[in-house]
């Protein structure tokens, strides 16, 4: 549905997007992840025909953004970084205008406006001036505007920025419910958002593509070994953490043990397994066998946060190493 090949975008001096290629299948939700200034907004602007690419190509539903922009625009709903709102219009009036602008027939407009108002929970502010709405409500009107003409492809630039926690959850659900008949690409720098609502993630940093994969694959690829957090309790008498530690290290498959915290008669550890070993059952048995109580045992997944830091740090690390080589 979306096909990007060798996309490069250069502003006067800055190279904002540098040779990015990716594809998105129909019906997928893809998260576009990157730190500030990574080039997310720029890529989205190229996809929506707002900016022409400097080099490379982008296709939406088989139409090239440079050659057939009108066909592309018909199929795209776009929520820009700042919602494109007219402060002196009422919400309902604004949505009707956008509906007609997007080519809906005048019979369809009121019907669709009602629908999106319900979906985005803005029915109660329909008669209000947009200029008098709170930031979160503006964001919702922006989202309503993007899905109004039921486009095949949705491009959402930070759709949940400025929303309250309840609304964030609702918006994520809304986005998930739109997947299937819509192909969605959303940008964010909140990693948990990608974990929650996306099937695939594309990570970019400083204009370059760092990784693209499914969320689970990406986690597994970087993790390799299992990490487990333990909290151990001794009901009668004090606990000698050195002893516990020794005991844990003896368990088969454990590569190393880190003491996290001790308090009176309880202590917590983080245990890492050897590559490809599962150690939770063994650990539990060892602890209980020694007469201690197991207060908590949970696997610690590598969060996207960690993945992200690893990937972007690696990117930054490379040139430094090269420099050192030159010196040597």
């Amino acid at each position: 549905m979306i096909k990007v090949e060798g996309l490069t975008k250069r502003y006067a001096r800055t190279l904002a997007v540098d040779d990015i290629s990716f594809e998105v299948e129909k019906g997928q939700i893809v998260g576009f992840l990157g730190p500030n200034g990574a080039g997310k907004t720029t890529t989205m602007r190229v996809l929506t025909c707002f900016l022409p690419p400097t080099a490379g190509s982008a296709q939406i539903a088989g139409f090239d953004v440079l050659e057939q922009p009108l066909e592309v625009k018909k199929r795209i709903g776009y929520l820009p970084e700042t919602p494109p709102l007219y402060p002196d219009m009422e919400v309902g009036e604004y949505l009707s205008f956008v509906g007609r602008l997007k080519g809906l027939s005048s019979a369809d407009v009121p019907k669709r406006v009602n629908e999106v108002c319900d979906r985005c929970a803005i029915s109660d502010v329909r008669m209000k001036l947009i200029g008098k709405l709170s930031k979160g409500y503006r964001q919702r009107v922006g989202l309503a505007q993007a899905i109004l003409h039921n486009p095949d492809v949705l491009v959402l630039d930070e759709p949940t920025s400025g929303l309250d926690p309840k609304q964030i959850i609702e918006t994520r659900e809304l986005i998930r419910s739109l997947a299937g008949d819509h192909t969605i690409i959303l940008s964010t720098h909140i990693l948990s958002e990608v974990e929650h609502s996306c099937e695939r993630v594309i990570i970019i940093n400083q204009g370059k593509l760092v990784a693209q994969d499914t969320v689970t694959n990406l986690t597994n690829r970087l993790r390799g070994s299992e990490q487990v957090a333990l909290e151990i309790l001794c009901v009668n008498g004090a606990l000698n953490h050195a002893e516990v530690r020794q005991r844990l290290e003896q368990v088969v498959g454990v590569s190393h043990v880190v003491l996290k915290d001790t308090k009176d008669n309880r202590c917590s550890f983080e245990v890492e397994s050897l590559q490809g070993r599962s150690i939770r059952a063994e650990l539990a048995r060892a602890v209980v066998g020694a007469g201690w109580d197991l207060n908590e045992l949970r696997p610690v997944g590598l969060s996207l946060e960690d993945i992200f830091l690893q990937l972007t740090a690696a990117e930054k690390g490379e040139p430094v190493e090269k420099k050192e080589e030159v010196k040597a």
Partner: protein, 255 residues
Amino acid sequence: MRNVIVIFTKEMKSYFASPIAYLLLTIFAVIFGFFFYSATRFFVLQGMQMQMMGRGMPMDVNEYVIRPLLTNASVIGLFLIPMITMRLYAEEQRSGTIELLMTSPVRDLEIVLGKWLAALVLYAAILGISGINMGLLFAFGRPDWKPILVGYLGLMLQGGCLLAIGIFISTMTRNQIVAGGATFAVCLMLWVLDWVSAYDQSAWAKVISYLSVVTHFEPFAKGVIDSKDVIFYLSMIFFGLFLTSRSVESLRWRS
């Protein structure tokens, strides 16, 4: 065409949702009302003097009242036009709504036309106020109505041409005030270019004076339609709108 109407309707609503349209209508009504009052008063006094001196020659309302009034209207228009056009693109760029317009399945030229038409209709509405004054003349006298219509045609053509220039300037900045100021400067320039011909008869002076929008308005005020002037205005409008749509297109490359 449908898209042009969509944009036109939106612009029209936003003119009347903000105080700008009412402000412009009031300014025009007051200033034109003042001119109308002095022109008619002068005319009546002159008429009375003539009669006292025993010359019964009736004075021509068209020549002594309507013609100067039409010229005045065109000058007031010069001052109002920057205020009509300054926000059209500058504001869309500043608030980011340009992203909505330019990612919608609408051609750049359709947006430009819609905006220009809305500006033209507002300008016509403003001129419409002077129609009330002109109507009064018909109540008390028998002026010839044909030159008046020609005069208004001229006003609209001149307005259309300056509005196109104003929209073009509005695409070049995200600051309304800058757009308004620059448009005003250009309108003023086009107006005073005519003065060159007063002291200079060289070919250059002729070319420069040809570019003055005022030179081409004078025949209309006299009630004369000269195809040369109509063509001048129409080509200026065409050229202005063409430049605007190119400038909008280049926004993509510039930003």
